[in-house]
């Protein structure tokens, strides 16, 4: 079974791909922080953030299809907010949509969620699609992120699909024996599957640890870092942090 990795397209070549991941990490984080703290009525600021991101997508040569598809992950959250719209407190005028009446206040909340989540998600897509995940982890380590955190992320990146495949095989084996999952008492089976998946993963963890020991592991993972900070990195970090900030101040 094949799965699309988190960092699909991170092996392309573009100015954005070549940047030191530390600069991208700082730059995109700054963009997100500026964006989510912007008051929702500063519409030109949001247009500027989006414009910056679209320019970066062009620069990175990522396929638009890929970016748009990944951006859809924000949609469910936006829809949940939309579903609760009729229940928001009144104010800011009201708009009638057939039998439902929406308040201007509610619509502003929806705009707030939609704009900020979309821009933040695009920033994360830009980061993860232009940086190989292992390099991102190294960058985090370089920036003194706790080793336990990066180790967990690294093993997750390596094993998540191994475990997903294992689960899919279990599901096939279950369904091949006529399981339909129609009655409540059949839910027990799901509990057993989760328990058995946990045990298997636990045992795999022990075997992986033995394999690490066998190659001389002594509690420390050594790694070499191939990037360096230069003019391009400084320029990018300034662009990603200062441009949104300036746009926001001008709009306010």
């Amino acid at each position: 079974m094949k799965h699309a990795f988190l960092d699909q397209y991170s092996d392309l070549d573009s100015p954005l791909h070549r940047l030191d991941p530390r600069a991208k990490l700082v730059g995109f984080l700054a963009l997100i922080v500026v964006c989510v703290t912007t008051p929702p009525n500063l519409y030109p600021a949001f247009a500027a953030y989006l414009g910056l991101e679209l320019a970066l997508v062009t620069l990175s040569r990522l396929p638009w299809r890929h970016v748009l598809k990944r951006a859809l992950v924000a949609l469910p959250f936006i829809l949940v907010v939309a579903a609760f719209l009729p229940f928001f407190r009144k104010g800011g005028g009201s708009y009638n949509l057939g039998p439902i009446s929406l308040s201007g206040h509610g619509l502003q909340v929806l705009w707030n969620v939609a704009a900020k989540s979309t821009i933040s998600v695009l920033a994360v897509i830009l980061l993860s699609s232009t940086t190989p995940f292992p390099d991102l982890l190294r960058a985090m380590e370089k920036m003194r992120a706790p080793r336990i955190l990066t180790a967990i992320l690294s093993f997750t990146y390596r094993y998540i699909f191994v475990i997903v495949d294992e689960m899919q095989r279990m599901r096939r084996a279950r369904d091949s024996r006529g399981w339909r999952g129609r009655w409540l008492w059949e839910a027990r089976v799901i509990g057993h599957m989760i328990a058995s998946l946990f045990l298997r993963s636990y045992e795999r963890g022990e075997r992986v640890y033995a394999a690490m020991l066998a190659r001389g592991y002594q509690g420390e993972v050594h790694a070499f870092y191939d990037y360096g900070l230069g003019m391009a990195e400084a320029g990018f970090a300034a662009l990603a942090a200062l441009f949104p900030l300036a746009a926001r101040l001008l709009a306010g």
Partner: protein, 248 residues
């Protein structure tokens, strides 16, 4: 050069923490340059024995690897000299990329950056995977994963290669390639397997284990053509397979 065996094991006993007794007095001597197959039914203690060869498990008894007793102060040196390859390559390949996995051992040995790069390059070329450095192990075929697993220990320049079930789940072509790869490597080898034809092909000597002990030990043909030994320890040759003495 003075002579010393690659592996010396005397009266090794081991019980797992849950009380299961796995080894009941194992004696084994492997000379440098030998290629030894270890066979036996499931639960015979084969894999437990392997984990003793580099001190992952420590039982009661005496083990020496190239003359060094397996004890804490020698562990780093022993783990460099013994390349242990686990059965499931997904256990062996735990890093985000193939390169990182092959570099893991050399880095733990404290090699410089250039030395690590050279060791990785050499190991990947030896197993025929040059060019796949940046891949995730997840995206390799099973045969490639098995070879990558070998590369992760070859990069440490071991003197003894220990393989747990190297031929399991390989299709015939991958199995053939793997067999040729092993035969091309001129170091001491210990192979644990259920695949008796694989032992015929790759080993001169076979050790039969059962019930936590070595129950037979000798030249491959004489042991594996002895139906009584095979039958007594739950082994059998594949249907239609007739052993012939080794040539040369």
């Amino acid at each position: 050069m003075h002579h010393r065996p690659a592996v010396e094991i005397r009266d090794l006993h081991y019980a797992y923490p849950d009380g299961t007794v796995a080894l009941r007095g194992v004696n084994l001597l492997v000379e440098e340059g030998e290629s030894v197959g270890i066979v036996g039914p499931n639960g015979a203690g084969k894999s437990t024995l392997l984990l003793h060869l580099n001190g992952i498990l420590t039982g009661r008894g005496e083990i020496r690897i190239f003359g060094l007793p397996v004890e804490k102060k020698n562990l780093q040196e022993i783990r460099r000299r013994v390349g242990l390859v686990f059965q499931d390559p997904d256990d062996q390949l735990f890093s985000p990329t193939v390169y990182d996995d092959v570099a893991f051992g050399p880095m733990n040995m404290g090699l410089s950056r250039q030395e690590v790069a050279a060791a990785v390059d050499r190991a990947l070329r030896e197993v025929g995977l040059a060019g796949l450095e940046k891949r995730s192990a997840y995206h390799l075929s099973f045969g490639q994963k098995k070879r990558a697993a070998i590369a992760t220990v070859l990069s440490m320049n071991p003197d003894l290669l220990v393989l747990d079930e190297p031929s399991s789940n390989l299709d015939p072509r991958a199995r053939r390639e793997f067999s040729e790869l092993l035969q091309g490597m001129r170091i001491t080898k210990i192979v644990v397997t259920h695949d008796l034809p694989f032992v015929f092909e790759n080993c001169e000597r076979v050790v039969v284990m059962d019930g936590g002990k070595v129950v037979a030990d000798g030249e491959v043909f004489s042991i594996l053509s002895d139906e009584e030994i095979l039958k007594a320890h739950g082994l059998e040759l594949p249907y239609g397979f007739y052993p012939a003495p080794r040539r040369g």
